[in-house]
Symmetry: C2
Subunit: 158 residues, 2 copies
Amino acid sequence: MSFTTIYETAMKPEWLDDNRILRNAYVPLIFSLATDAFMDRIGIDAAYRARTACTLYTLESHLHFLRQVAATDVVKVDAHILDFDKKRIHLALELRVANSADVVAASEWVLLHVHQGDKPAAASLAAEVERAIVEFRAADTAEPWQGPRSRTITVENA
Amino acid sequence: MSFTTIYETAMKPEWLDDNRILRNAYVPLIFSLATDAFMDRIGIDAAYRARTACTLYTLESHLHFLRQVAATDVVKVDAHILDFDKKRIHLALELRVANSADVVAASEWVLLHVHQGDKPAAASLAAEVERAIVEFRAADTAEPWQGPRSRTITVENA
């Protein structure tokens, strides 16, 4: 398995639509909460953010919605670092129902390390964060990432 | 102007982060609420959904986050139908601060018309919905859509 589980949550009532399934619009929110967990994991935690005035901004997201999630499901988010440079991280995140191999939503994210202030500006990642990123990637046994486009849509006749 | 304004809203307190700016994760939610308004506009309203058991599912979304939005801003969503066929609509949505030409977030969406039931399946759009889509497009004076990739990121040194 080439992904690392970084976040798990039960459904919240406000995420459900009239049919008691997860409303699509809340999938990016779950990924955002997972990204917070990912930031903690690579050392961009609250202490780092307070000390450096730096954080990650999302520049771009690309999502594929593949399956429905029921009100009673627990979901988890798995992460895989596709690429990174001095200032940016290209991250793949997949949403699954816990204990299922089926991907509910597949996504890619471009995150930029930004120094916040009156005029936010891109800034280089701290050396210890770069090291944590390298370690996070090393923990992957790394099947190559196929990307969301290779997934089969489960709605029939699409 | 080739886009039609379909939705407008004031910021909600729960959408703001610690810096009193719109949290990125809520941008897709605003686009989702705008999509509800778009559905009403082309006749896929509550009565249609009740009568036909059909609605639109989101298959795919692609977003570019370009600017920050302050707590006090009113935002609007402009829509442009890029393409459609019997079952799908390819929609561009742009988020702007009301009374500003600057795009805050640019996005594309692939929406599928689905008959809901025990086993949801793609279904053809009703003839009156197709007509409403054609009318919606005709109302555009239609500069060609440049796509979010052509936008300049406002964070410096990205």
